[in-house]
Symmetry: C2
């Protein structure tokens, strides 16, 4: 115990158990085809020596790494201003843990950093990748595809080039938007405005589509493009009030935007929800619960989304559960639910 020596090897375990390295290996890897008494002896040796397999040596021969990369590409610092990724990571982590896989986190640092990620993925250091690519013009999906690593995307990637058969998990942005707007309609609102997110992101585009599904003939002046930020929400709200002073509801593409809109409405003396009903999207708790009044919004199960991505990837990697090349479900969409608070 006092020895600073290196960790025990399989060899040592085998010696202690009085078996060959091969048998020891078999036991360590599940023990199939080894008779019980031997299994027991090896197990005990492992225990006594505190043996932990050397992953590097193992990878060298198996070419598996029991590790997957999580790539988060977001130039903005904004990324972590919201709990979104954190929750996804949590979901991913849970699933990976259950499969004894490790999570290698790759954050791209600015626009030029993509090649580093590409090189890493192509380098075969991980068994697969979960990629969060939010922008339509993001070079990342392409890069990843070329790296030839099994990949699952978080959020529907833009339909560039070869992304049509990309595997992804997304929440039902469109359906959620529909639910939100229908809720406003049910409230008797007729002049319903929409503050969009940046439309180069599929989530924002899908939410806009959902809005249009319910309000196909809406006055274009009731739609203001924005950027998912509170400041953007304020700006858009001012614009909308100017263009359409008679609006009686706002569906904001996310909670941050909604909070900005709320502020402007208050400032202009419009009561919420009496004069103007407001619905957000995301159910970003620290925001949605703290607005004045608390925000009615659309919740997505973000952690579940992460978990699902991981599960999908892992099943993709597991040869024993290989899905047919055809008919593979390439997109998985999680339901969203409306959370009623005070704002609508």
């Amino acid at each position: 115990m006092t020895e600073t020596a290196s960790r025990p090897t399989l060899e040592a375990v085998a010696a202690r158990a009085g078996v060959s390295r091969a048998t020891a290996s078999r036991v360590v890897n599940g023990g199939d085809g080894v008779r019980e008494p031997l299994v027991e002896r090896v197990r005990q040796a492992v225990e006594e020596l505190g043996y932990v397999p050397n992953q590097a040596a193992r990878s060298l021969v198996t070419r598996r790494h029991d590790a997957i990369a999580v790539v988060i590409a977001e130039p903005e610092t904004r990324v972590f201003a919201d709990p979104f990724f954190g929750l996804q990571l949590r979901g991913i982590s849970k699933e990976l843990t259950a499969h004894d896989s490790q999570l290698v986190l790759l954050l791209t640092e600015g626009r030029d950093d993509h090649s580093r990620v590409g090189r890493y993925l192509a380098g075969g250091h991980v068994d697969g990748a979960l990629v969060f690519s939010l922008h339509l013009d993001d070079p990342l999906p392409d890069l990843v595809r070329r790296a030839g690593v099994p990949t699952v995307f978080g959020g529907r990637p833009g339909w560039g080039d070869g992304n049509r058969d990309a595997v992804y998990v997304d929440s039902d942005n469109r359906g959620g938007a529909r639910a939100a707007v229908r809720h406003l309609v049910a409230l008797g609102r007729t002049r319903i405005a929409h503050i969009t997110g940046p439309l180069d992101q599929t989530s924002a585009a899908d939410r806009l589509d959902g809005f249009r599904d319910v309000m196909p003939a809406t006055d274009p002046r009731l739609i203001a493009e924005s950027d998912f930020t509170p400041a953007g929400g304020e700006h858009a709200m001012r614009e909308l009030l100017e263009r359409c002073p008679d609006l009686d509801a706002v569906f904001a593409a996310n909670d941050l935007t909604a909070s900005g809109a709320l502020r402007v409405l208050r400032e202009r003396g419009r009561r919420v929800p009496e004069d103007v009903a407001v619905v957000g999207f995301d159910d970003m708790l620290p925001v949605a619960e703290q607005t004045e009044p608390p925000l009615t919004t659309v919740r997505q199960d973000i952690e579940e989304m992460g978990r699902l991505m991981a599960r999908l990837l892992l099943s993709d990697l597991d040869p024993s559960a290989r899905r047919g090349p055809a008919g593979a479900p390439s997109g998985l969409v999680l339901p969203t639910t409306l959370v009623r608070r005070a704002s609508a």
Copy 2:
């Protein structure tokens, strides 16, 4: 190019460059002691073949992994409700990238999961660890120490057992709290209350200490223990108003708590900041900027904290820059700054 064959090995590079594997290796690892023309030839071969070193093979012999673990131990889902860890991760990632190291993320799933992390760290899969352990009674620091992996802590760990010489990076919670309270004093406030965080976390304890530094003789009824949540803040604020209706300022241990307090103050008709001035802590943007009124608070440079942790760990690992065993700075405390908004 069409071949699905495995990636090129050093052997292949060497062959193509017309040198031995050893020389190729030397070039790949910096090229010291190899003459220019050969270096060039090898570089070119690497380029042409798209050679990427097999990290597993390399680790097997060097016993380095160029990877560090980031351990985040937080039983609550709360963790990612705030951008704190995200920003730290960003800082850490930046620093690691600059050193060609990878980031392996380990999230503990509940109380019983510590042993898994301990095993992983002890397993020698990573070169070092950055550990976020927020609770005084957290078993993690102990575990990590026993795993014998070089470690830097994020946030001052509790002074349990052998933690006295733990290396950590923290922000100046105490100093920040002092600044916050001094600001309130400068505003002429005399009945200043403090809503604490959970006092089993060093950050909360340190902030309380800072409060006491400035208000040593404060009425104990002006201190309410809470839990860093908005709901907790509401509860504490109600309690405080009941006990001390004449209070004219509140220093909340974090922004979430402050937002809850703000809501109660508004509900009770106290004007902020006229009747009661409020200061928070963290400068958690989505919250602090959105409260009504916007929150005066204490900002900490979280990303820098992450970066510093990584730098510290890496320099610890780098034998060429080995610091003396004695006199090693074990704690690094980053400054905090007061951000004035409208609430105080």
